[in-house]
């Protein structure tokens, strides 16, 4: 089975947020609850400030702390390495949100970031939180795909509804192969500078592994021991994402 992973090349990423938008469209997310987010960090002062940014999907860790703390095993890791939430089992205790070092999970029952609450405008049938008029066809509550029901946690699924249909033994899901385009995750599909790559980390010949080894792919927050499956290429130095001290 594959072990799906992602590589994001920070030297190519322009911070355009097309990936965030594509994810938002694919998964019908609202502002403030976007699975894929581009984070910006500013440091320093004029005349030498620096602006850093990087896209942050769910890391789908090898050793996910979110999965370890879930009291109902609603958060689980599939055989192909994707961390998902079973909405039929989730009790909404939010312990996984506490335990995720990367802040990728969302509990959308709370106040919306932008008023008016559009979920009230497009009210749901069938126990979902809302019914967006442009909703995609995918809905799989046992894998956390689609519109979430009330009282559960949701997060990036690596577009599981797409990648799970990819032919077996596929090394990489990229836009280069027309036959595989329909299986490529939305954020990877959309990226204009081709800063994102998606492939099988267990396959030593895959492009993702080649990039990680040739361009010194690094993972974020290594000290937590979660072992993300999302690697960043930054020319050998992971940008220091420490919050500047405000005195």
């Amino acid at each position: 089975m594959a072990k799906w992973g992602m590589v994001i090349d920070l030297e190519k990423c322009t911070g355009c947020q097309a990936c965030s938008t594509a994810c938002q469209m694919e998964n019908n997310r609202l502002p403030g609850e976007n699975y894929q987010d581009v984070l910006y960090y500013t440091e320093g002062k004029q005349p030498t400030p620096s602006l850093k940014w990087f896209p942050r999907p769910c890391m789908h860790c090898e050793n996910p702390s979110c999965m370890h703390v879930c009291p109902t095993k609603a958060t689980f890791k599939t055989e192909d390495g994707v961390v998902l939430i079973d909405w039929n089992k989730c009790i909404g205790c939010k312990y996984c949100m506490i335990a995720c070092p990367y802040g990728v999970r969302f509990y959308t029952d709370e106040k919306p970031l932008i008023e008016p609450n559009i979920k009230e405008v497009f009210k749901a049938e069938g126990g979902m939180q809302w019914s967006p008029p442009y909703k995609g066809p995918q809905q799989d509550n046992s894998h956390g795909v689609g519109i979430q029901p009330h009282g559960v946690v949701s997060k990036c699924t690596f577009c599981y509804h797409k990648i799970s249909k990819a032919p077996p033994e596929t090394a990489d899901l990229s836009n280069d192969d027309p036959a595989l385009r329909e299986f490529v995750p939305a954020c990877v599909r959309t990226c204009a500078p081709t800063a994102r790559y998606f492939g099988d980390l267990d396959n030593p010949d895959s492009q993702v592994n080649r990039l990680i080894s040739d361009k010194h792919g690094a993972r974020l927050l290594e000290h937590t021991g979660n072992k993300p499956q999302v690697y960043y290429l930054s020319g050998g130095v992971v940008p220091g994402f420490t919050r500047p001290d405000k005195s």
Binding site: K89, I91, A99
Partner: protein
Amino acid sequence: MSNSSQAINSPESISRISALRLVVGVIGLLIGLFATMGLLTTGHAAFNTSSNLVWGLPVAAYVFFVLTSTGLTFVAALAMVFGMKDFYPIAKRCIWAAVATLAIGFISLGLEIGNPLRMLWVIPTNMAVTSPMWWMGLFYLTYAVLLVWKFLLVNKGDWSSSQSKVIGIASFVAVIFAHATLGSVFGMMAMRPFWFGGMMPVYFLVTAALSGLAFIMLFINLDYGIDQKNMSAGTRHAMSKQLPTIFAIVLGLVIVFTLARTAAGLWTNVAEFKVPMQATVTSLWFHYELWVGMVLPFLMMLSARRSEAKVQVIAGALVISALFIGRYEYVIGGQLVPMFKGAWFDDLIVYTPSMTEIGVVVLAVSLGILLYAFGDKKLNLSDAPTSD
């Protein structure tokens, strides 16, 4: 057979306070129900929690209530497990109060969780043994069953049969595991340095003991009309001789814990620990908690007047308020630093409980008061064994 204590002197002070208690309980219940109505209409949008700060006032209140239940069981165990006979007169009150605070703790939590009813089947069937929260649930359920069982036995007058003794010891052991595991729910979170610590279970257990003792100091004195002459000789002895000493020792320990943790946070390089701790100590609540809520009662317990009912009521009330503030600071403090949000949230998360969240706590507290009042009136909480 049981020996019920009778009011020796004026029962007016007792009935005045119990009437006040009923009024406070009923008014609080109505206010709490009214304030929590938002939950029925808008659901959890009525809370001020967000995807960044997920555990708010209701969770801090839950921690406080089960902490108190744990401590009350500790005090009851002084008699029932460790054989300190002078505490038998207050043991039944402790057990009933432990039941009441456990119940309201879970009410508070149940109103906070997304799908609480689902817990009933999904937790036993999935055996998530890697989760500290799963173990906490298991141990608290065990404790709840054993505690209620023990109360039913004691209510029938059965204090010393082997079954009663075993259940008493078992409930004491269960609550130690339960509350220690609750400490681990927070203490095992290595990604949140403000909470992390292998010794968090110990900290939780010591603060639990303090909470139980403070509740006893406050409520037993209130139950007897803030007049020790209304108590039986045994109760008076426990309340005036041993309790202030034990209370002072545990309070001293908690003061040391608090100062140590605060110092560790203020002078660390780890920003996630330091910044929330700095925010904590610059708040007036913290200084009230430390100086008025803990140091002042400690000094009161060192003074010659520590056996007086009025002094104990004030000390108990101050410590209870300090502990509630402390639990709130701990739970919220660990979530103030945004987890990996960059410029979207470039400062500490700002959180104030909404009216609905405050309503949940008011509702829970009022239910606790009314449950305890019910026990006081109908379940003869002054029962104690006559001889051992």
